[in-house]
Structure formats: structure tokens, C-alpha cells
């Protein structure tokens, strides 16, 4: 293995995290018409971390390649990744098809092979389906070490990587050599704004467009969504006038 680091950044286009998702009329999915889409916030953190690593280890990092699987509009988020500092990018155009985590992992494995990447940084989960599986499955397919839910990443001079993970009651530190996979948690860093000069430069950076077939992978569905439902609306509270009334109410609700 060469000592250079080639980072792969899988990013997903999702409904903006600040918006309240609405279930569509047929109850099979989320209403996506006229809704604002943005980069998955955890992936945004992954991008930020990759740039940070590159800035801190200029000699070590050879390239950063961003990849997104989604509709043609996913180009927007690739442009952001490029503006932030990724060197090259690939869009795997699957139109509006839903792609399950296992399929995503297979596609990413193919991309990894094309790019010869040896460090993959991605969000621990996408905020639309909240699967939290892609990183782990990809590690399994590649048979690479994985450090999930990273809250701190440190690259050592001997090409080993130390990752801190927040666990119940403390911090766990895991260490592995490249190649490896890191999935990012919320506290890893705070993504920055993209400045205009960088945005303008990003337009000239390469954005390759591929179909799934080009990678020799086919998308198959293994899961079936039966129905999506909103959680039940919270009942309004009520004021009680006295302790006796409170006790009576609690008894009525069989709380005591």
C-alpha cells in the first residue's frame, strides 16, 4: 500500500433537516414535491472532516473524491463538496429510485475500486431513512476495519488512524491502519459556509456522471414499505385545582 491517503466521500441528497417531513397521501413515502433538498447533515460533517484532514496533512492526502447516488439534482450537493475542497466527484444517476443500504454499499464498493480509495468517510446515517447501515455493510463487503460514530479523528504519522467514539459513560478510542471506514457523528465538527470564490472555482472541478450499470451493479429491492404513519398527536395537558383533584386524575388514568 502506498503511504498516500485517497479519501472517498459518499454524500446523500436528502430533505432538508430543518424541515418537517410530511407523509404522502398514499402513505408509502415522504412528500418530496416542492420540498427543499440539501446535503445529509452527517455527510456534511464527513466532508468537513475530510477537508480538515487534508489541510492538516497536506503531504499525506493525495485526493478527495466525492460521490453521490441519486437523481440528477444531486449534482448540487456534489458542487458543494467540491466547493468545500473535494478534488473530483462522481454522480451515480439512479433517477428517483430508492436505493437500499445494501445496494448503496455495493455501488460504493465499485466506486472505491475505481478510485482506489483507502479511507472512506461518510455520515453515520442519512436523516431520511435513518438506516445507519451503509458504513457497516460497506466495511463488511470490503473487509475493512470500521470506526463508526466518530467524535474525533486523528491521523498518525505511521498511517494509523485513531478515532474517538462517544459511548455511555465515556469515550472509546479505536485505532486501525488504512484502509478503513469512518462514519461521522454530530460532534465531530461544525460544517462551515461555502464562500463565493470557492463556489466559483468548484464549477471548473470535474463531475463525472455514471449509471449504475456502468459499475456492473444492479439495483434490487429487498425491502417492502407497507405503510408510513405519523406518530399520534400529543394530547393537550390540563390544569388541576388541588392535590385531591390531581390524585383523582392520576387514579382515573391508572397512573397510580
Amino acid at each position: 500500500m502506498s503511504s498516500k491517503v485517497r479519501i472517498l466521500l459518499p454524500v446523500k441528497r436528502v430533505i432538508d433537516a430543518a424541515l418537517k417531513p410530511r407523509i404522502n397521501k398514499t402513505q408509502t413515502g415522504i412528500e418530496s414535491a416542492g420540498v427543499k433538498f440539501s446535503i445529509n447533515p452527517f455527510d456534511d460533517i464527513a466532508v468537513e472532516e475530510a477537508i480538515k484532514i487534508k489541510n492538516e496533512h497536506k503531504d499525506l492526502v493525495e485526493s478527495i473524491h466525492a460521490v453521490s447516488i441519486g437523481p440528477a439534482k444531486a449534482q448540487d450537493i456534489l458542487r458543494i463538496a467540491l466547493a468545500k475542497g473535494a478534488d473530483t466527484s462522481t454522480l451515480i444517476d439512479v433517477q428517483d429510485q430508492e436505493v437500499e443500504p445494501l445496494q448503496v454499499s455495493k455501488i460504493l464498493k465499485a466506486v472505491q475500486e475505481r478510485q482506489n480509495s483507502n479511507l472512506i468517510i461518510l455520515g453515520k446515517q442519512a436523516i431520511d431513512d435513518d438506516s445507519n447501515q451503509t458504513g457497516q455493510m460497506l466495511a463488511g463487503l470490503l473487509n475493512w476495519p470500521q470506526a463508526t460514530n466518530a467524535s474525533k479523528v486523528k491521523i498518525n504519522s505511521d498511517s494509523t488512524v485513531e478515532v474517538e467514539r462517544e459511548i455511555d459513560g465515556g469515550v472509546e478510542v479505536v485505532k486501525a491502519s488504512l484502509p478503513m471506514i469512518i462514519t461521522t457523528d454530530l460532534r465531530l465538527n461544525e460544517p462551515k459556509f461555502v464562500t463565493l470564490p470557492k463556489m466559483m472555482k468548484a464549477k471548473k472541478k470535474p463531475l463525472e456522471k455514471l449509471k449504475v450499470e456502468d459499475l456492473g451493479v444492479s439495483i434490487e429491492k429487498r425491502l417492502e414499505i407497507l405503510k408510513l404513519e405519523d406518530p399520534p398527536a400529543r394530547q393537550g395537558g390540563l390544569k388541576v385545582g388541588s392535590v385531591d383533584e390531581l390524585i383523582a386524575k392520576l387514579k382515573e388514568l391508572k397512573a397510580i
Binding site: 432538508d16 433537516a17 430543518a18 459556509f193 464562500t195 463565493l196 470564490p197
Partner: protein, 620 residues
């Protein structure tokens, strides 16, 4: 201070462990020249009557609970009301107002109490009539976009309700989480979307108002087009609670834009700000929905309290706020994201390449969008954090708009009042920001504590300066208590006389928000003397704006009370012609007249020095 506290009932101190106390000075102490007018006193009988109308729980008499209603949000004014009533419907409002009118009890209608000129709090013991229990949407027509709602509906709730239906409230402002739409109408709030959707005078279709005698005026079913006689609702828009209590609002709401983008830019000069605005208007055209500017000092103040990383300083952790003297926030709203993105990108690229803008960022998602807006909207709150803030909200011609901030900094420095680091100086800094698109500048003089010295240094200097430069002394905040004496700097004799007559027509006893805007006066007539005196300085009867000095001085005198009209002859020789004034420090007009409630003096040394400089005697 202690003597006063001792007079207040202290019966509850033992029974209550936590006592909500206030360190805000009573308005009557800060302004001892203001005297309580001859109104009735609130008695137990009054309270009983209110309780019989609205129920026991909707009448607040507990002194601690009343603080919320007595104090304004800037913690500058504090009234001494003994009772707050919270009616639940228009009928109850009507009964309460009628009772007050019959018993000559003064009252202050109050919405979210987010006013910035002391117009929503009592000065003495006026009854507070809070609309906060009238907070329902009455109806919404999703075809026409007409929303009908109670006046106490919180602006943000109204907007969220409309968002569900694909519409937007045509008004947005920093205090949206607390302010009421009725209060917005009463203050004729401008806010962040005015550039796009115009003023409330255009979007409000109808109002329900309880008049001072208890009569309910109802034009809620008004149409968009209705040319049958006088458009009466317009009188209540911007009336600041002096003509009646707004209880219902019918407003036309535009469709909610599907795509919103924000660009936050750093610029090297105020000229560049103006140039960017010009270019934005022509190149962004119909998608431009807000154009806000902020000076560097406002960003520094925001940074001190928000502690967030400034969007243009993220690459260098040692820099709090970059050195650009000006910042601009541009919002675009449209129906097609691709179209808007492309347009904004082309625009930003061209102004960057031409060097008009030095640096900038664009929001990539909703979270960033809100974060960027915070660097503009958060200034107001951050300005209040050092102890207090003197706020001026003025309209000025764009080319001279920012000069006011620079003139004020120089003036405060000359008086040795300003220092960002020296805590013994009362003023921290002067920050300027506002709606370039509307020619509206917000001036925040951030102080460590409110003081007469600072106030006298600022007022009426600011008003005079604004008047000299053909501006308005209140663009969107209203007159309230703070600026009521200075209406003459923006309105002519004729306008003021008409306002007094209108006030008298609606509220002959003057019970509604009595220490605000204007007192009713039936005696004033538009006599020959009025008409000729307004224009005589430049020989024209009708060109009222031609000589601002002449206009403001005579107008102020007549805005006061009839007895001072007799002084007019004495006053007129004091008029100073504008051309003799040096441009950076225009001469301050000596205080020539006394107000019904208040008597303001500029700093004495200051007034004398300036009077000397311009060769006139200072009459005090």
C-alpha cells in the same frame, strides 16, 4: 429609590420566596417633567367590574405579575399600572373600553409588548388592555389568500399556519415569536419583507376596532378593491393604540415562495453597498425579497453575545469579525429553485469579479439560512446586552444614510461618552444596520446604562439631523412615548393639526394611550396663519419641505399645546437657515418651547457652544 420602594405595599414579601423585582426605572422618575393627566383612578369597583366582564382569572392585579405588562422589552420604560385585563373576545373589549370612557380611565392597549419606542407600556397607572387571550385564526381562504384573525395572534404562529397552506404572512420581523399581528398593524410595522410585499397599508384589507366609546368598527369583510368613500381602516394602521383597540385583522397574504436563498457579503465601503443594491435590483429583479445592510460594529456586537463563528471569518479562528466595514444580506424568494440559483449565481459572480463585493457566502440549507439571518436579526437583541440601548429608526435618502452613524460617533466622542473597553463611559458603541431596500436605517446606541447625559447628547440632535437631510424620524417603529415630542421634525403644521382633530374626533377625552403620539385638540384650526407660516421661509405657500429648519421649528411648536402657539412670533426669529450649517455638525436648534409632559434640554455646554458658533442666543 429606596424611599419610593418603601411606599409600595410589601405585604407579600414574607409569603413569597421568590420576588420578581425590577431594576428598570419608573418612566415617571426618568421623566419627572411628564405629569399625570386628569384621569380617574382605578378602584376596587373598577376591578370588580372588569372581573364581571372577563372573569376573575383574566384580571391581573398582582404587582409582580404586572411587571411583565408595565415594563417594555428594552427595559427603558416602566409604568405603574395596577391592573391588566385580558379580554377573550371583541364584545368584552367593547364593554371594558366603554366603562373606561364613561369613568374617564386611561388605558393602554398592549399586544406582544415588543415595541421599541415605549408605546405599548403605561407611563403612569393606565389600565393595560392585553390582547394576548385573543389569539385565534378566524378564517382563511386558500383561494384568495385572505387571512382573518384575532389581533392577539402571534406573528410567527400566523406565519406557521399560513405555511401549512402554502402562503406567507406579508410581514416578518425579528420579534416574530412574541409580537401580535394586531400590534404590528397598530404600529404599522415594516420589517424584513417590506421590500417585496409592501407596507401594511397595502396588505391589510380590513380591521375590527373597538373605538374609545366602546363602539365596534368592523370592516373585516372588506374587499381588495372598494372605492366607496374614505378608507377608514388606514387611520388605525400606525395609530399606536391612540384611536382605538384593534381586535381583528383581515390581511391579504401572498403565496409562499418555494425557493429561498441567502447570500451574505462583505464589502469595503458604503458606496459598494449602494452599488450592490443597484445591481441586485436590476439583476435579481423579481426574486429579490430582502436587502439588508449591517456595519462591522453591529457584527462585532452580535459576535460578542452569540459566540458563533462569523460566516466570513470561518477560515481564521483568531478573527472574530473580518475587517470589512460593511456587510450585506440578500434574500431571494421565488417559485423555481433552479431559476433562482442560476440568477443569484450569475449576479454574485459578476459583482465579485468586478470587485464590488470582497467576500461572501451562500446558504446551502435551511439551517445555514437561519444562521445567516441571525447575523442580521440578532443585532437588536445583542444591542441590549450591555445594559440598554437608545434606538433610532429613521428613513433617509440612501446616499447620506450612513453619515448619521458617523456623525453620532464623532459627536459622542467629542463629549467623551463612547468607549468599547472603558466601562466608565456610558456608551459602548453606535451600530448601524437596516433595510437598504426601504431607505430605513436603524441606529442603536448601545449603552451600559440609560443616562440623561447620553440622551441629551442624542436628542433632539438625531431628529434635527434627520429632518435637515429630508428624512423621517420614525420609519417603522412609530412615535410612542420616546419620539412623540419630535413629530414636528417629520410632519408639517397642517398635518399635525389634522392629526389632533382626528384624535379628538375619535377620543375626545384622550383616554387611549394618552402619553403617546398626540393629544386631542378640537381648537386647532387650519387658519390662514398656519398655511402661510409653513411655507414663508422660502416664499412658497405650498412647498412645505423646502426649508426643513423652518418647517421643523414652527411645526414642533404647534405640535405642543395651544398656549405655546402664542410664542410663535418669538420663536420664528430663532430659525436658522440650513446653508449656514457646517455639513458634519449641523447646528442644533435650541429648545424653544415646553411640552405638555416633557421638557428636553440638550447638553447645556453643548447648546451654548453651538449657539455661539452660529451666532444666535440660546433661549432656554
Amino acid at each position: 429609590m429606596f424611599a419610593r420602594l418603601a411606599k409600595l405595599p410589601v405585604a407579600r414579601t414574607t409569603s413569597r420566596l421568590v420576588r420578581w423585582s425590577s431594576n428598570v426605572r419608573l418612566t415617571s422618575e426618568s421623566y419627572p417633567q411628564v405629569h399625570r393627566l386628569d384621569f380617574g383612578q382605578v378602584t376596587p369597583k373598577t376591578v370588580d367590574f372588569f372581573k364581571s366582564v372577563v372573569g376573575d382569572s383574566a384580571v391581573i392585579t398582582n404587582e409582580d405579575d404586572l411587571l411583565l405588562y408595565n415594563e417594555d422589552q428594552m427595559r427603558k420604560y416602566r409604568g405603574q399600572s395596577r391592573v391588566c385585563v385580558k379580554p377573550k373576545n371583541t364584545q368584552q373589549v367593547s364593554e371594558i373600553v366603554k366603562y373606561c370612557n364613561e369613568n374617564k380611565l386611561a388605558l393602554v392597549p398592549q399586544g406582544g409588548n415588543t415595541g421599541l419606542v415605549g408605546g405599548s407600556v403605561p407611563v403612569f397607572d393606565e389600565i393595560v388592555l392585553s390582547l394576548s387571550s385573543m389569539d385565534k385564526v378566524r378564517s382563511f381562504d386558500s383561494t384568495s389568500g385572505i387571512l382573518k384573525a384575532d389581533a392577539g395572534l402571534i406573528l410567527e404562529n400566523a406565519d406557521n399556519f399560513l405555511a401549512e397552506n402554502g402562503y406567507i404572512f406579508p410581514l416578518d420581523l425579528g420579534a416574530k415569536g412574541s409580537c401580535h399581528i394586531g400590534g404590528n398593524v397598530a404600529a404599522n410595522a415594516g420589517g424584513l419583507r417590506l421590500l417585496r410585499y409592501g407596507s401594511l397599508h397595502g396588505s391589510v384589507l380590513g380591521l375590527e376596532v373597538v373605538l374609545p366609546d366602546g363602539t365596534i368598527y368592523d370592516s373585516m369583510n372588506a374587499l381588495r378593491k372598494d372605492n366607496t368613500g374614505y378608507d377608514l381602516k388606514q387611520l388605525f394602521i400606525g395609530s399606536e393604540g391612540t384611536l382605538g383597540v384593534i381586535t381583528g385583522v383581515s390581511i391579504l397574504c401572498p403565496s409562499r415562495p418555494k425557493a429561498v436563498n441567502i447570500a451574505f457579503l462583505g464589502l469595503e465601503s458604503y458606496d459598494a453597498v449602494q452599488e450592490t443594491f443597484k445591481r441586485a435590483k436590476s439583476e435579481l429583479c423579481e426574486i429579490l425579497s430582502a436587502f439588508e445592510f449591517m456595519d462591522r460594529q453591529s457584527q462585532v456586537q452580535n459576535k460578542r453575545f452569540s459566540k458563533n463563528t462569523h460566516p466570513l471569518a470561518q477560515d481564521d479562528p483568531d478573527v472574530d469579525v473580518p475587517e470589512y466595514p460593511f456587510y450585506v444580506l440578500i434574500e431571494t424568494s421565488g417559485s423555481s429553485k433552479e431559476h433562482d440559483d442560476a440568477k443569484l449565481e450569475t449576479f454574485l459572480e459578476s459583482i465579485m469579479e468586478e470587485g464590488i463585493v470582497s467576500d461572501g457566502v451562500v446558504s446551502q440549507d435551511e439551517t445555514q439560512l437561519k444562521a445567516l439571518w441571525n447575523w442580521r436579526e440578532g443585532i437588536s437583541e445583542a444591542s441590549n446586552m450591555d445594559g440598554g440601548v437608545y434606538k433610532y429608526d429613521v428613513s433617509l435618502p440612501l446616499p447620506v444614510m450612513y453619515d448619521l452613524i458617523e456623525v453620532l460617533r464623532v459627536r459622542l466622542d467629542e463629549h467623551g461618552l463612547r468607549s468599547a473597553s472603558d466601562a466608565s463611559k456610558p456608551v459602548v458603541d453606535v451600530v448601524g444596520y437596516g433595510h437598504i431596500g426601504d431607505g430605513n436605517l436603524h441606529v442603536n446606541v448601545i449603552v451600559r446604562e440609560y443616562s440623561k447625559t447620553v440622551e441629551k447628547c442624542l436628542e433632539p440632535f438625531v431628529y434635527q439631523w434627520v429632518s435637515d437631510h429630508h428624512g423621517s424620524i420614525s420609519a417603522e417603529h412609530g412615535l410612542g412615548f420616546q419620539k412623540k415630542n419630535y413629530v414636528g421634525y417629520s410632519k408639517t403644521d397642517v398635518e399635525i393639526a389634522l392629526m389632533k382633530q382626528i384624535k379628538h374626533k375619535f377620543d375626545p377625552q384622550g383616554i387611549m394611550n394618552p402619553y403617546n403620539i398626540i393629544r386631542p385638540d378640537p381648537e386647532l384650526e387650519l387658519s390662514e396663519e398656519y398655511i402661510s407660516s409653513s411655507g414663508e421661509a422660502n416664499g412658497s405657500r405650498f412647498d412645505l419641505r423646502a426649508s426643513s429648519y423652518a418647517r421643523s421649528s414652527t411645526a414642533v411648536s404647534s405640535a405642543l399645546s395651544p398656549r405655546f402657539l402664542k410664542m410663535r412670533k418669538k420663536i420664528r426669529p430663532m430659525i436658522i437657515e440650513a446653508p449656514t450649517a457646517p455639513p458634519t455638525a449641523p447646528p442644533m436648534m435650541a429648545p424653544l418651547f415646553e411640552d405638555d409632559f416633557e421638557f428636553e434640554l440638550p447638553l447645556e455646554a453643548d447648546a451654548d457652544a453651538e449657539a455661539e458658533a452660529i451666532g444666535v442666543d440660546c433661549v432656554t
